[in-house]
């Protein structure tokens, strides 16, 4: 028998362990959640209390309102931080001169932002958006809080993507008499689109998974936040957290977790398809 190199063994073991953990987590959630999802679907068909009822009640502990809240939250918070984050990154890479003090400050600030625990964001969101600005426990308070949380992610990934665009594209464009804004808009940003989208996907993951920062800002109420400026509402993760901590609906919590996984996979797939379409012909 061939002698096994101990270092190689260690590397393989580590790789196997990583994969095993992921498979175990997903497998366990699906094993526990999937049967419950089937039950809930059949309940829904038969008009009994179901997790998929449109309106929440303490009998059905429906997750539908929280799915809708989650989607609203993703769309609006991403809208805010993509505009801010991409603009900041464009400034940092394309406009700021090297060695600019202001640039250093922006970099340090955004790096610090990304290292802050989410519960602190929650506290800040509560003190600032909920109380000081007076938005109250509302979806918008939560949206603004997570928008700040994901800003550094988007700035960082966009910055890296812009830096990776070859200098020769810029030269070629300027050489044809194109102004800076047009060069950025038509040449540089499309070339960097993959990197920008990678950041956005990470950010979506962060928003979906967030609980701590939302408990204090958009709260845990169970309705659809039809008017997100005023009414609060829980997201899917918060819903799951509440189900688990209330301790009476474990089966439904697992089903919710499975749905959560599904939503993450779907959104990632969608972003991937979008990225492919946007960069077609390149």
């Amino acid at each position: 028998m061939k002698k096994l190199n101990p270092l190689k063994f260690l590397v393989y073991a580590a790789a196997f362990f990583t994969i095993a953990v992921v498979v175990y987590i997903i497998g366990y959630i699906l094993y526990k959640g999937a049967p419950q999802i089937v039950t809930e679907i059949s309940n829904y068909m038969q008009g009994e209390y179901s997790l998929f009822d449109y309106k929440y009640s303490s009998k059905n502990v429906s997750l539908v309102p929280s799915v809708i809240n989650t989607l609203i939250m993703i769309v609006i918070s991403l809208g805010i931080s993509t505009v801010l984050g991409v603009s900041t990154a464009i400034y940092l890479v394309e406009y700021a001169k090297t060695g600019n003090k202001f640039v250093e400050i922006i970099r340090i600030t955004s790096e610090t932002l990304s290292g802050i625990p989410s519960i602190i964001y929650g506290l800040f969101g509560m003190i600032f958006f909920v109380t000081y600005v007076g938005l109250g426990f509302s979806l918008i308070s939560g949206i603004l809080t997570v928008a700040i949380m994901i800003l550094p992610l988007i700035i960082r990934s966009t910055e890296e993507a812009l830096k990776a665009v070859p200098m020769s594209y810029r030269e070629a464009s300027f050489g044809l008499g194109a102004a800076k804004l047009r060069t950025i808009w038509v040449i540089i940003l499309p070339s960097a689109m993959n990197g920008v989208l990678a950041g956005i996907i990470l950010a979506i993951g962060r928003v979906i998974g967030e609980t701590a920062a939302l408990l204090y800002t958009s709260g845990t109420t169970t309705q659809v936040a039809t008017n997100f400026m005023e009414s609060g509402g829980r997201t899917l993760s918060v819903h799951m957290y509440m189900l688990t901590s209330e301790g009476t609906h474990f089966e439904q919590a697992y089903a919710t977790a499975a749905i959560l996984l599904l939503v993450v996979v779907l959104i990632n797939a969608l972003s991937y398809v979008l990225a492919k379409r946007l960069t077609k012909g390149r």
Partner: protein, 253 residues
């Protein structure tokens, strides 16, 4: 020199930070001729070329003094619109640098930048530019395909077509064949000779044979100075300066 002067440089000095890259350069580029800049690496020939369409503005710490007169107008004047200048003075770079778009969009980018939206008009410009750059026959069936799928030589001719599409008066070429094989090189040289019918061309080259083959005037640069400028034939057959002679006979460089 039979033709009128298109571009004139007077007492040009250029600094990158503390480095004095061009020293008291005086040069005249005649219209509708090919002017070649030759000289060893780091002698300032590319630097001067990049000053002609103000690409050096992109370099931090670059300071330029002296006059650059394009048809008698100073291009470093405050009133000069830099984008209009670059439309008039096109550039082809050392390495082919097509945009990651279709062949058509590459060519149409320039005209669109300068406000041409009409589809038929654009089609016409694209076709003419590609024909002028002698690449139309090779790519007319795949205009919608990515330009990155072309060979290096084709890409470089595409870049020339792209530069021609904005109808410049002057074409600056910065060692346009240094990354190409001999066959592509000869195609681009033939093209340059054809193009001088309509355009004034300034070409930087490391290849002295190339300068003798295509250029009408040659300027020899050394350590940031123009040592000698003359009609190409004369410069290569009877150089006036000892340093020029040493360089063209291959004693250094």
């Amino acid at each position: 020199m039979d033709n009128k002067i298109k571009f004139e440089m007077k007492d040009v000095n250029l600094y990158y930070g503390d480095f004095h890259a061009l020293k008291n350069v005086n040069l005249a580029v005649p219209e509708k001729e090919i002017t070649a800049f030759i000289g060893p690496s780091g002698c300032g020939k590319s630097t001067l070329l990049k000053s002609l369409n103000r690409m050096n503005d992109l370099v931090e710490g670059c300071k330029i003094t002296g006059d650059f007169l394009l048809d008698g107008e100073d291009i470093y004047d405050k009133r000069m619109d830099i984008n209009k200048l670059r439309k008039r003075v096109g550039m082809v770079f050392q390495k082919p640098n097509p945009f990651p778009m279709s062949i058509y969009d590459n060519i149409a980018y320039g005209p669109r930048t300068h406000g041409i939206k009409n589809k038929t008009e654009l089609d016409g410009i694209v076709e003419e530019a590609l024909k002028n750059a002698a690449i139309w026959d090779e790519c007319k069936d795949r205009l919608k395909k990515s330009a990155l799928g072309m060979s290096g030589g084709q890409q470089q001719r595409l870049c020339i077509a792209r530069a021609l599409a904005v109808q410049p008066e002057i074409l600056l070429m910065d060692e346009p064949t240094s990354a190409l094989d001999p066959i592509s090189t000869s195609k681009i040289e033939d093209l340059a000779i054809e193009l001088k019918e309509k355009y004034t061309i300034v070409i930087v080259t490391h290849n002295m044979q190339q300068a003798t083959r295509i250029s009408d005037q040659t300027a020899f640069f050394l350590l940031g100075e123009v040592v000698e400028m003359n009609q190409t034939e004369k410069l290569f057959s009877m150089p006036q300066d000892k340093r020029t002679e040493d360089y063209i006979t291959g004693r250094f460089g």
